[in-house]
């Protein structure tokens, strides 16, 4: 669907508002049109010499017209602009809903800032089309359609002269608004640089202070600040001309009317009243003319924005329930990788090659291997954050795609490598993945994850806010909170993706102790660099370059003397060194 069609589809629920609002614009213009006519009559009456009382009538009529017009002016704005806010609301909801359906891989390839810009700046540019641009363009159309014939009926020659400069207005508007927009973009883009520079400098304050780089920072900020100033001045030179030049061109119309209309009036072809009426009509057209140029601009910009939003909304959620999904009530926790080969999209070499592995329900399996060996990729395949080729990952013996996504994920407790907590209370963060959790359950999960003591020491305990508005957790605390968040689900499958890396070994051992009892009868997948973390696992898998290099229990692998044994020896060596 083209961006325009997509945008138009959003009007569908608001057809009645749209029709009503546009009718109001029409009526506003229709009523407004009558007031110059009344004035013409008044002035011609004065020239001819009328009674005092007629002036009262004309005055009253003017007021009455204003009231009538005012009502429709109120209604048009109230209807159309409200509608634009409704559409904005719908669009924003749809956009966010769509984001929720997009897979993990999407977020790895799109920057947050970019998505934010689409959901905010672009959306408000689109809203400008739907609201003000629509309203003003309709207004321009109606006022032209109604007023121009009125003017022509006075004198078409005069009308032609008055409109002679109008093409200039349109051309100038187009020319300048495009140029202004381009230079404005340049300014905005560069402003991003300025903020980045400042942001980094503020975020890295400790490093800057420690290395006494304040002066260098100030100087480097001055440079970007100066460049920003230069670009702004470039913008000003062109944006400053826009309004005055419009005024100049519009003024030409009035000058033509004064000159030629004056001639006609002197000659007696038109009355003084008609001369005045004509001036007033031309006056009525000034704003619609300017609005026209403005609207074109808003429309172009808004459509570009709509294109950017539609682009995201057109991304098909690659991972969702398909027809293959079966009615599965529960998961036992058996996982099988059957000759699994996985490519990241756009990558020529596979991240995982020929992985054959069957994990029985209730087993604890550990994964070790160097950075980039494919451990995290393998972990992400289980909750379908990434999708493996069909038939290569099986849960309880059935292809993973046959398991409803919701059931699959709710059966998994997942602690990712990079911990993410929401700016919520600690308690709510822990209870994030369960329908309703009692404080008791939250506390138990916290204890099991070894973070209960820390939380008790927070100013408001479990009600302490996390993040910018609350307290900053250390890396280890974050990881433990994330573990609690996974454990409270009592998952059939627990995945710890290097989730203990920032936890000290003492706490780690404590957590592992708890895990052994909680995870009895449940499947655990544990990724780690530390032999200490993995050595008690039922099965240890050593990955190398996306392949399973070795597998077996700790003792088996040590006996075999391969990569794992080497790793173990290195770590053992450290210990021996220490003991010496």
């Amino acid at each position: 669907m083209s961006p325009l069609r997509k945008l138009l589809s959003y009007f569908a629920p608001y057809k009645r508002q749209l029709v009503f609002g546009i009718s109001c614009i029409f009526l506003t213009n229709l009523i407004k049109l009558t007031s110059p006519y009344v004035l013409r009559q008044a002035i011609d009456g004065l020239a001819a010499g009328v009674a005092y009382s007629t002036m009262n009538v004309y005055g009253g009529l003017i007021l009455l017209i204003a009231f009538g017009m005012g009502i429709f002016l109120f209604l048009q704005r109230r209807t159309l602009i409200n509608m634009s806010r409704d559409i904005e609301y719908d669009l924003r909801n749809d956009f966010y809903r769509h984001l929720q359906r997009l897979p993990f891989e999407f977020y790895q390839t799109h920057r947050t800032g970019d998505l934010m810009a689409r959901a905010t700046n672009d959306l408000s540019a689109v809203r400008m089309i739907v609201g003000p641009a629509l309203m003003y363009s309709m207004n321009t159309i109606f006022s032209m359609a109604l007023i121009v014939p009125r003017m022509a009926s006075t004198s078409w020659r005069l009308t032609a002269m008055a409109f002679l400069p109008m093409p200039l207005v349109v051309v100038a508007t187009n020319y300048f608004s495009k140029r202004i927009h381009d230079r404005f973009q340049e300014v905005q883009e560069y402003f991003g640089e300025v903020s980045n520079r400042a942001q980094e400098s503020l975020a890295g304050v400790r490093v800057i202070r420690a290395y006494t780089q304040e002066a260098a920072e100030i100087d480097s900020f001055r440079k970007v600040n100066l460049e920003s100033l230069r670009r702004n001045k470039r913008l000003i030179r062109i944006s400053g001309i826009f309004h005055p030049i419009l005024q100049l061109f519009i003024g030409l119309g009035f000058i033509a009317v004064l000159w030629y209309g004056g001639r006609l009036a002197i000659r007696g072809d038109i009355s003084v009243g008609q001369f005045v009426e004509f001036n007033l009509y031309l006056g009525f057209l000034v704003w619609p003319m300017i609005a026209l140029g403005w609207v074109i601009n808003i429309f172009q910009r808004g459509m570009a924005s709509m294109g950017r939003m539609a682009e995201i909304m057109a991304v098909e959620p690659a991972i969702s329930d398909t027809d293959e999904a079966r009615d599965v009530a529960e998961i036992r926790g058996e996982i099988e990788f059957r000759d699994l080969t996985f490519y990241y999209s756009g990558s020529a070499s596979p991240a995982l090659k020929g992985i054959d592995l069957r994990i029985e329900a209730g087993q604890t399996v550990a994964f070790v291997g160097a950075v980039g060996s494919g451990k995290s990729t393998l972990m992400n395949l289980v909750p379908r954050l990434l999708d493996a080729p069909p038939g290569q990952v099986l849960i309880d013996g059935r292809p993973i795609r046959e398991v409803p996504l919701k059931l699959l994920r709710s059966s998994i407790g997942y602690v990712p490598q990079e911990t993410f907590l929401f700016s919520e209370t600690v308690g709510r963060n822990i209870a994030f993945g369960v329908e309703a959790a009692s404080l008791e359950e939250i506390k138990r999960a916290a204890t099991e994850a070894g973070i209960a003591d820390d939380i008790e020491e927070f100013p408001n305990g479990y009600d302490t806010l996390v993040g910018e508005r609350g307290i900053t957790l250390s890396g280890g605390q974050k990881q433990r909170a994330a573990i609690a968040r996974a454990l409270i689900r009592r998952p059939k499958i627990l995945i710890l993706d290097d989730a203990l890396s920032s936890v000290d070994t003492y706490t780690e051992e404590k957590i592992l102790g708890y895990l052994r009892s909680i995870m009895r009868g449940r499947t655990s997948l544990i990724v780690s660099h530390r032999v200490s973390t993995v050595k008690d696992a039922d099965l240890i898998i050593v990955l190398e370059d996306g392949r399973i290099a070795e597998q077996g229990t700790h003792d088996e692998l040590i006996t075999r003397g391969g990569l794992y044994a080497e790793l173990y020896e290195k770590q053992l060596l450290e210990e021996e060194l220490a003991a010496s």
Binding site: R85, T112, A198, V207, E214, R237, L258, G433, S532, E574
Partner: protein, 626 residues
């Protein structure tokens, strides 16, 4: 912190003389710009409004002359000018003359307005430049504890949105208000001298207009405040949920989060619709009041014309001007918001600029130059907040060239010690000495230039690898930079990067492993060749290959200099001269590795826990009871 959030949302008055005086100081360097702009603005009023007086003259002299009322004032002047310049042949020529004057005025208006716009906007940009520079410079002086209290996002708002609001005020606000006032004054004066009675009648509606704008201002203000709050919520929600989307999906929270989003989205819509109401009433009401004015002019002026007191041209000009009259007035009321926002912004900016520099160099510093590296903590007490002591009566000395490791549980106060050494914070009691001098008596730059620090979380800047090692220090040439990188084993992997040392680091070093980032920060520390090295070892586990490189790099880092290490690695602890064991803000044990082991105290237990996994559960419990 909740109230500081609200602080962003409060809007106060639109004019505060104290703030304004202070703001004017920023305008002062550009007073000629301001003055030029002001003069041009005032000048543009009669030029922009040339139409009505000229139309009046054209009607009264040439189109519908009233023989009983010969032209007077401006009309007479025009007639005489037309006669003198040879446009006296006929009424046609007269109208042509007036049209030419109109054209000239129009062109002049164009030139004046354009010049004015450029001068004024340029001034605004210069002021913004100055403000940003000043704020940024001040931020560079503020101590670390200020940054603990103020999230970066909020400080960024000062530099961006708030400065922008002030620019708006200086350009669209103050000078435009003068322009609007000039416009009103010009119209009023012209009307009065043409026909003061009709002028008074025309002004009769001003109170109504004033009442309307006041209502609009007050109503729209609170409605807009609400909108700002709502949009901020939406942005915060989106930011967080886009970043944490995998978590949302993993924990099946899509529906709940969608409901939450819908709620805040709807609240935003509602608050916007509230503002629409004010606009929807305001514009028609302005029209109606304007038409009331026209009705009055027709009623009263029409009678004047019939009585022969006023001309038709006067009536027409008044009607035309009646419309121009109300434009600047409603314009002024719009400016109210700009002023209000600017006052609120300037209040926040000034608050930031008034933030005292709590940690600064002494006025008469004791020069130490390149330190020998003797460090002493003497009865140091320290709390980040109130009486919540993080360090309690801590005393120790580190001799030049000595290597000291701090060990202890999280929260024992290890990191605080390094923060205090660099004077990120000042101690509450006791003192810290470097080479026997209290660090508070040493020039801050001089003090810190004796240290290099490696933090647990490596902070990388955007820019290339080289600039991340060198930072802004021009003294570190390529030679020294590469030497440092080679020493800490960073050279090898840097060379393998696409463009070597010139490789741009995306998003704070995304794409580099944790270990590689650490090696870069080691190179940075070494390149600065400090007397004293502070190393806060990262706890996160790294693959064994890098681990070995790091171990060796640490060795080289701490060679030949005083070094203070917050140790998590056994290898590091092994090679130090002295180990200080911290527990709950106090020093519990001090000595060499062997001494401490022999003592079988806290260190021994920590050691057992950390490096021997086969500990007995009973032992673990005994620690937990501790």
């Amino acid at each position: 912190m909740a109230d500081s959030q609200q602080e962003e949302e409060v809007l106060g008055k639109a004019y505060d003389s104290r703030l304004m005086r202070r703001l004017l100081r920023y305008l002062w360097p550009y007073k000629w710009y301001a003055l030029t702009s002001l003069v041009l603005t005032i000048l543009s009023a009669p030029l922009v409004l040339a139409g009505p007086p000229l139309t009046k003259a054209a009607i009264d002299i040439f189109i519908a002359p009233d023989p009983s009322r010969p032209p007077a004032g401006f009309a007479l002047f025009l007639k005489q000018a037309a006669d003198r310049l040879g446009f006296s042949g006929s009424a046609y020529e007269g109208v042509a003359f007036i049209a030419i004057i109109f054209l000239l005025a129009n062109i002049a208006a164009f030139i004046v307005q354009y010049t004015q716009a450029v001068v004024m906007q340029a001034m605004g940009q210069y002021i913004m430049f100055d403000l940003r520079r000043e704020i940024f410079t001040h931020l560079q002086k503020l101590s670390v504890d200020f940054y603990d209290r103020n999230p970066v996002g909020r400080l960024m708002t000062r530099l961006t949105t708030d400065v922008d609001a002030l620019n708006e005020m200086f350009t669209a606000g103050v000078i435009a208000i003068f322009g609007d006032v000039a416009m009103i004054a010009y119209i009023a004066i012209w009307m009065f001298q043409v026909n003061w009675k009709l002028a008074l009648v025309s002004f009769a509606i001003l109170p109504l207009l004033a009442a309307l704008t006041t209502w609009f201002r007050l109503g729209a203000r609170s409605a807009f405040r609400e909108v700002r709050v709502r949009i901020a919520r939406i942005n915060a929600f989106l930011q967080e949920h886009i970043t944490g989307m995998p978590v949302v999906q993993m924990f099946n929270r899509e529906e709940k989060e969608m409901r939450k989003f819908d709620e805040i989205n709807d609240a935003h819509r509602k608050s916007n619709i509230d503002t629409i109401f004010y606009y929807a009433v305001f514009y028609p009401a302005v029209e109606i009041i304007g038409s009331l004015g026209i009705a009055l002019i027709i009623w009263y002026g029409g009678n004047q014309v019939i009585r022969g007191v006023a001309t038709i041209g006067t009536l027409v000009a008044f009607i035309q001007l009646a419309r121009s009259f109300y434009e600047p007035i409603s314009d002024i009321s719009e400016k109210y918001n700009i002023l209000q926002a600017a006052m609120a912004s300037s209040e926040r900016i000034f608050k930031l600029m008034d933030e005292p520099v709590t940690i600064a160099s002494p006025e008469k510093p004791v020069a130490i130059g390149r330190a020998q590296g003797r460090i002493e903590f003497r009865d140091v007490w320290f709390a980040y907040k109130g009486e919540d002591w993080i360090l309690k009566n801590v005393s120790f000395t580190v001799e030049p060239g000595e290597r000291v490791a701090f060990v202890g549980h999280t929260g024992a106060g290890k990191t605080t010690i390094t923060n205090l050494l660099l004077r990120f914070y000042d101690v509450q009691r006791g003192q810290i000495l470097l080479d026997g001098t209290d660090i508070r008596q040493i020039d801050l730059q001089e003090l810190r230039s004796n240290f290099s620090i490696v933090l647990q979380d490596v902070f990388l800047f955007s820019g290339d690898v080289a600039s991340n090692i060198r930072l802004g220090n021009g003294e570190i040439d390529d030679e020294r930079l590469r030497h440092a990188a080679r020493e800490v084993h960073a050279d090898a992997f840097i060379k393998r990067l696409p463009e070597g040392y010139a490789t741009e680091l995306r998003e704070r070093g995304a794409g580099l492993s944790v270990g590689q980032k650490q090696l870069i920060s080691f190179a940075r520390a070494l390149a600065f060749d400090p007397r004293i090295l502070i190393l806060d070892e990262a706890t996160s586990s790294i693959d064994t290959e890098t681990e070995i490189l790091i171990r060796d790099a640490v060795e080289r880092l701490i060679a030949d200099r005083t070094s203070i290490v917050i140790a998590h690695r056994l290898s590091t602890i092994q090679s130090v001269d002295k180990i200080i064991v911290m527990h709950k803000g106090e020093i519990r044990e001090m000595g060499t590795h062997q001494d401490l082991l022999a003592r079988r105290g806290l260190y021994w237990r920590l050691y057992q826990l950390q490096f021997y996994q086969d500990y007995k559960n009973t032992l673990a419990e005994s620690i937990a009871d501790d």
